[in-house]
Amino acid sequence: MSFLSPALLLGLLAAAIPPILHLMLRRKAVQVRFPALEFILRSNRKTARRFRFKQLMLMVVRSLLLALLAFALARPFLHHDADPAAVAADSGGTTVVVLDAGYPMGYALDGEALIDRARFLAETLLDDGNGMGALVVAGDRITTPFAEPTGDLAAVRRALEEVAVGHRADRLADGVARAYEMLEDAPPGGRRVVVLTTAAGAASDLPKPPPITGDAAIELVPVDVSEGRPTPNRAVLGVSLQPAPEMGSGHWRVDARVGNFGPDAIARLPVHVEVDGVPAVRGFLDLGPGEEGVKTFYVNVDQKEATPAAVVIEPDALPADDRRPFWLQPAPQMRVLAINGDPRPTPYRDELFYLERALSPTTAAGARVKLDITDVPTLQRRDLDDFDVVVLANAGELAPDRARALETFVRGGGGLLVSMGDQVKPATTNQLLGPLLPRTLRDVRQAGDAAASAEAGDRRAARPTYFERGHAILRSIPDPAGTSLGSAQIRRYMLLDPAADAGGEVVVGLDDGAPLLLTRTLDQGRVALLTTTLDRDWGDLPIRADFLPLLQQTLRYLTRVAELDSAPVVVGRPAPVPVEDPRVQRVRVRAPDGELRVVERPKSEEEPWQFEGTDAPGHYQVEPDPPLPGLVALPGFAVALDPAGADLRGPGAKAEDGEDVAAAGAGVATGVTKRTELWHAALFALFLLLLGEAALLFRKRGEDEVKPLPGRPA
């Protein structure tokens, strides 16, 4: 127990006044000489005990009266765990109610949504309050119906009625900070921020009040509107997509991560993947209390267009997070023309043997590569516009017109991959393809050639050690140096001329400093140069396991086909719009509710396309504006709820569920307290004591009347 005005406790000394007065009055009793003392003594014997008890009670009651008065004036209060009923009992001062309108507040507890409970509590707070009030709604946005605390509490209540649950779960801290700002100019005394939220929200690391002491201090009162009752919830926390070539062409592996945020184990929780609104694959999942589990599905994507899909679990008290959308994108078809400069009768010795394997449908599920192979002489008959990428694999001398055609092709948006080999003559190639190559070719280097490199004199092969991780080709490979690429042995490679102005970018470099893979942009097209062979003539790179993704990503980069990014964007965060076609100047994004918004091409090439209006979960479709003929598909994106909001439990409930709360709850505000003033109760007790004193002093009517005594005639 604490006191707002502890100095007034000195008033407790007043409790000694009644005994002192009693003693003084006892000394000052009226002295009367009386004849019939015997009757007084006799009566006194019978009444003295009752009289003394009554006097004692009166003295005690009056002492308590004075003590309680001092106690009440000292304004005692108790600290205890926040309790909605107790919060509602408080009144006075300035109260800013921060109403959590995140999607977890849509949880239905006993058939009543937490947001409705919060709204009722807020109304109760405002009804019982006799001071100023304000409202901050922490939903998808931080909204304040009133710029500053107002005495028009009816208007605040009306604003409360319009509050609806949003789709975000991360605005509560911002709302509390906004409440502090609103209280900056409020009069001191009873400044309070009441946060009506879930148990998890109440225990979260909310911003601390500004460090002001005394009367102007702001009290933060987080209130769990569920009143500590269990709020078990299950949710689809994430979806990841991977090609599943082992299941056949067009198959994807869908890993659905599902969480059980409740005290009870769940057996055989129904989970299914919904494709285009129809359940496609069903399954069950067993989850222990507080556990997360992954259910794997395999989905065959036959459609040539992107298909909206979702992982759905059995609905519970919070249905919003029981569904997680994603796009099932058919892999964009890459039309690749490979020019074999060194065909061999033995397949595995053929220049394109490994390229063909890497791009075959079984290994490149989801890539949808259409590979055409030709040789240098027949290149004349092929129309390059039918292809997205041209691969010059150890191609020797090209016809000049073909070289020009290639340049036109690249500048128009095509992709060109040039790999080296014994057929490549640096001088001729530089002459024909010089405008396309990132750097001019110099000569073939033999790794371990002491004459070429003193450092490599004791080695037989060079190894890739440099990886430009930020490059689009390597973006899907988290740690390229740790993969088999880093252990590839390159025995020979084409040494390039150092050219500072070539515009080339080294993606992979060898340990002797020579580039292994370079790229450059030429107008609207891209060129990649591999300084070694696509077969095993100059090294073992093609047989390394990670050669396959490297090659696929290189081709995707060259064709400017967007990568499949199945990870949904969280509501409220900007979504990257995968637009690679240089012809597209702007796109229209169709939200789940059908609303269309336009996104313009960024002013700088460095800036990514981003869509800011991810206000609701669901499937967002992206269309070029205006539509462009022959445009490769523009993949849409999915927006999902923040899985962090799916766990509504407070630290206490988590501990009961056996979770390591201490470790997980570092920084989480515990011991949230609330102040309950006791002076009301003290005054009530004072009133009761006054009644008691009145009862002790009460005398029956007629008690003073004198009845006629016998023996005296009227």
Binding site: L37, R42, G711, R712
Partner: protein, 294 residues
Amino acid sequence: MSGARSIVDAELLARLSGLSVRAGQMVEGALTGMHKSPHHGSSVEFAQHREYSPGDEIRHIDWKAFGKSDRHYIKQFEDETNLRTYLLLDTSGSMDYGRAGVPTKLLYASRLAASLAWLLLRQGDAVGLLTFGERLGTYVPPRARPDHFWNLVQVMEKVPVGGATNAVGALEHIAEVAGRRSVVVLVSDCMDFDGRLTALCRQLRRRRHQVVVFHVLDPDETEFPFSDLTEFEELEGGEKALADPRGMRAQYLEEIRAWIDDLRRTLLEGGVAYHRIDTRDPVDDTLRRFIGSR
């Protein structure tokens, strides 16, 4: 406590001038009077001897008997007689109490006794007086002379006040000295009322005396009007008691009511005339009620 008190009120005596007191039964007297004597025949015939007691006329001593027995005896005669009345006046400390504006119980009792004596003497009856407190006070033998009134008044005005009430002792003394049928008037607050007192009254009654008790009480004693915390001090013994009058008033009134009731009932059962006197009442009214009741 002593001091002269003026107990004679000329207006009071004037208001009583038309009244006369009659004995409720036959009485024995020494002089011819208005009351019927139980004895018939000549008026001065010898009846018996009685031992001398202080106050008896010396001329009534039978010197012959003294010569034979060496003891003083008084000769008594049979005749038509006057009323012989003994006034027993309580002068104990408890009688020295009176509410402001109201005479003390002793003053009231003295005025009552004096008025009664004046009435009796005026009609030729003999009146004696015995004052008593804790001990016997002054005894004035009954006389029928008119100037005897002033002897009585002088004694009553100067009688000292104090001590406990001892009505029993006074009655015992009267029982000894009252040889003939007489009227014994006890004016007291009867604070020593107990079985002994009523027994003595009954004994007097059996001896054919008439016994009248004027029970004098102050209105404070019957109404107990105190309110504040009060320390009561007894008038007779000095004992003290601290009491809350409000808290005990009902009990007190109950106690004193029962006491008065018991006293009255006991006396009436013994043939004793009981009159409770409130000191607020005029003396003449009290006497009228007394005379009217006989």
